[in-house]
Amino acid sequence: MADIHTGLDSPRGIWWKPAHRNEKLWVTIAFAWCMVLFAMMPLWHWKGGQNPSGIRRRVEPAAFYQRTQEFITQYRVGEDHGIPIVAPPPGSDIYLAAMTYQWTPILKLQQGAEYTLHLSALDVNHGFNLNPLNVNFQVVPGYDYGLRVTPTEAGDFRIICNEFCGIGHHTMVGRVIVVNEKGEEVTRAGGQP
């Protein structure tokens, strides 16, 4: 390895030379690891239970609002803090609209059942965070994100907005109730009602 120089010097002559032996080993290992990183994503689509694929389409905010209102009228079972509570049947399409500074409606779901959850924003970008499970999705105005979700545990969950949406951003909290297989509301770990 003649021609020792630093990165501040111009290499003279032809510098296209065989790699250093330490370097060859590391580049091979690093490349193999990059392939593992890459392979995990298709693998998880195939075998894993959590993928952000969903059904994606454009939707006018007014049309999404209309559809959410119809959904609320159809399955309304109560109200909390002025926000309607809806209990849709397992397997149905369910709608959650984000607007400054509210998530509507409150969803009452059944443990172990699959739903298609449609998320969209009526005004600006919002962020869907299911607390305390830490499941996150971007909620974009003009786009309907239809995610097939199966609540695997019962409890009383919160939806926090985690995309800055304005001065009242930190007050934007919604609610999801998941009843157990017998249809009972349960207190989730942590002691919250």
Binding site: M1, D3, I4, H5, T6, G7, L8, S10, P11, G13, W15, K17, A19, H20, N22, E23, L25, W26, V27, A30, W33, C34, L37, F38, M40, M41, P42, W44, H45, G48, Q50, N51, P52, E114, V124, G127, N129, N131, P132, L133, N134, V135, N136, F137, Q138, V140, G142, Y143, D144, L147, V149, T150, C161, N162, E163, F164, I167, H169, H170, V173
Partner: protein, 577 residues
């Protein structure tokens, strides 16, 4: 026309320096430090607000200052400093001149004007849209125009950089190929062009939208804005890696193991980095899974491979540089006997280690399509990028400044005792800050959020009790890092404006205020090629750079564990598809 330039000769390196390029480097560096000061004051206010027990600012000012912090740190500080790097590398390192002094100053003026407009509108509350300004949140039209002017100025500087390189070649200012450091800076400049074109493609329509002249789709905005937002961080990466090679050379005589490998790694950045925008859209409704998988992996992680290559060749070059200078005992003697009191060296090491171990590992993991479900918009995101941009890039920029003060400003570094400990204070602070922030994010704590006690919300929210402790530690780490930043600012400002002139230096005689790499240049012995051949002939399976091999395997182990733990955590949440 070249004959009219009155070059000065650098007393350390013997290189020819164009005084115009010197002044341009200086002006841009000064503006970078001013932006850093504003950003660091904002940082203190922010950590003291997110520390729930203190909760300093009200909601309106918290979000406003958050926008100010983002623009000053990620845009103004970083890009002004990069402009200084482009002016410096395209002239001083090549014995070359600045070919367009008037245009250089005009672009600098444009950048100052643009930055000034943005500052004014943010501080007066006319642009409360945070750093990302996601449409349809709307700011004053002049905010967008200010960003455009700043970007046009920066684009012109990249053009001047390439013109400088071209003319230097034509005038035969240097022999052979570009030095690796300049090649790295050229990579940064090419990525800057890609980035700034994305910036034009999104900010010009958004400017027109703010005037009511056209529509901008919220998802398209996010796609193209991140072509600016993430790619601009890749300018930082390329510039930072170039500085790593430079500081390695200056402090311990680091050698280039192989020009081909290091240069190919830089080229991988150029080819694959523009896909990085996708990292921010992994749980967005606008794109499908195959688009996400291909793009987020930088087409099979080729840009990650590039960083892993540099993460090896930089320390290996330092190790071999040290071994060639006689520090040959054992695996780590070269590291133990390195100049740890030289802030250029300690800053370099912290930058490499924190960028790789915290920033790199978290970044690749959270940028995986499905894992992003348990990451998006939580504190894990700023936890990651503070490790890359602040603990990595900003630390490298600070470290190289300790060399630029004597080399470019021809002053001694003021408060030398403080300068020697500054990288330690800053890096320890950033380590605590980024790690606690990342852990708090793992509990689902949202980023960009004024009040996680949700005192004004209709429903109560309870986080794990660990979160309060983590946020308090995060504030303490943040305050420590901010202290390090203020130390740096004080040193830089006093050195540049009130500093003692460099004066005559005798090689081998230590002088307070002059880094060891300049008073004791790490030159290689005359028989360096023979020594190199002896090193190469080693029969150890670890090869000639065993210390670095051991370190990169520790890194790989940490990477593998963190990556798969995240898949495991993901598998516990609801079924989603």
């Amino acid at each position: 026309m070249s004959a009219t330039v009155a070059f000065r000769t650098c007393p350390f390196t013997g290189r020819k320096i164009d005084p115009v390029a010197d002044r341009l480097t200086q002006a841009n560096a000064v503006l970078a430090v001013v932006s850093l000061l504003i950003g660091a004051v904002a940082a203190v206010l922010l950590v003291l607000t997110r520390w729930q027990a203190v909760h300093l600012l009200n909601a309106e000012w918290f979000y406003r200052i958050l926008g100010v912090h983002g623009m000053n740190m990620l845009i103004f500080f970083i890009i002004f400093f990069e402009m200084a790097v482009l002016h410096f590398t395209s002239t001083a390192l090549l014995n070359a001149r600045n070919v367009a002094p008037k245009l250089s100053w005009a672009s600098f003026g444009l950048m100052v004007l643009g930055a000034g407009m943005v500052e004014w509108l943010m501080w007066t509350g006319k642009a409360d849209v945070l750093f990302t300004s996601y449409v349809p949140l709307k700011a004053h039209p002049l905010f967008y125009l200010g960003v455009i002017l700043f970007a046009v100025g920066a684009l012109l500087v990249t053009a001047i950089f390439f013109a400088n390189l071209h003319v230097a070649k034509r005038e035969r200012r240097y022999e052979g190929s570009l030095p690796l450091v300049v090649f790295g800076a050229a990579t940064a400049a090419i990525i800057a062009v890609i980035t700034l074109l994305h910036g034009a493609a999104i900010y010009i329509p958004t400017f027109l939208w703010s005037l009511g002249l056209m529509n901008v789709d919220a998802q398209v905005y996010r796609l193209i804005w991140w072509g600016l937002g993430h790619s601009s961080q890749q300018i930082n990466v390329a510039a930072m890696v170039a500085i790593w090679y430079m500081l390695g050379a200056l402090t311990v005589g680091a050698i280039v193991l192989n020009e081909k490998i290091s240069r190919m790694a830089f080229v991988l950045y150029i080819l694959f980095i523009s896909m990085a925008s996708a990292h921010h859209l992994l749980v967005d409704p606008g794109m499908g899974p195959s688009w996400k998988v291909v793009n987020t992996s930088y087409f099979m992680y080729m840009a990650v491979l590039a960083s892993m290559v540099h993460g090896f060749t930089v320390p290996a070059g330092m190790e071999l540089g040290q071994r060639l200078r006689g520090f040959t005992r054992g695996m780590f003697d070269w590291l133990r006997r390195a100049p740890w009191g030289d802030p250029g060296f300690s800053g370099l090491v912290f930058s490499v280690v924190l960028f790789g171990f915290i920033g790199g590992i978290t970044g690749v993991t959270i940028g995986t399509e499905q894992i992003n479900i348990i990451v998006h918009n939580t504190l894990r995101v700023p936890g990651h990028f503070h490790a890359t941009v602040v603990a990595g890039t900003a630390m490298a920029f600070m470290a190289v400044t300790y060399y630029l003060i004597p080399l470019v400003f021809r002053k001694r570094v003021a408060f030398w005792g403080m300068a020697r400990i500054q990288p330690y204070v800053f890096s320890i602070g950033m380590t605590i800050f980024t790690m606690t922030m990342t852990f708090a994010g793992s509990f689902g704590v949202p980023r960009r959020h004024w009040d996680i006690s949700f005192s004004q919300a209709p429903f109560s929210v309870q986080f794990s009790p660990a979160v309060d402790l983590l946020l308090a530690l995060m504030a303490i780490g943040g305050l420590l890092a901010a202290t390090g930043a203020f130390m740096f600012i004080a040193i830089a400002v006093v050195s540049v404006f009130f500093g003692q002139p460099l004066g005559e230096l005798t090689p081998g005689v230590a002088v307070a205020g002059v880094p060891q790499g300049l008073t004791h240049p790490p030159v290689h012995a005359a028989d360096v090629d023979r020594r190199a051949e002896e090193l190469q002939a080693t029969r150890s399976i670890w090869g000639p750079a065993p210390g670095t091999m051991a370190l990169v395997f520790v890194f790989l182990g940490a990477f593998v564990v963190y990556f798969f733990v995240n898949w495991k955590v993901l598998s516990f949440v609801w079924k989603i598809g």
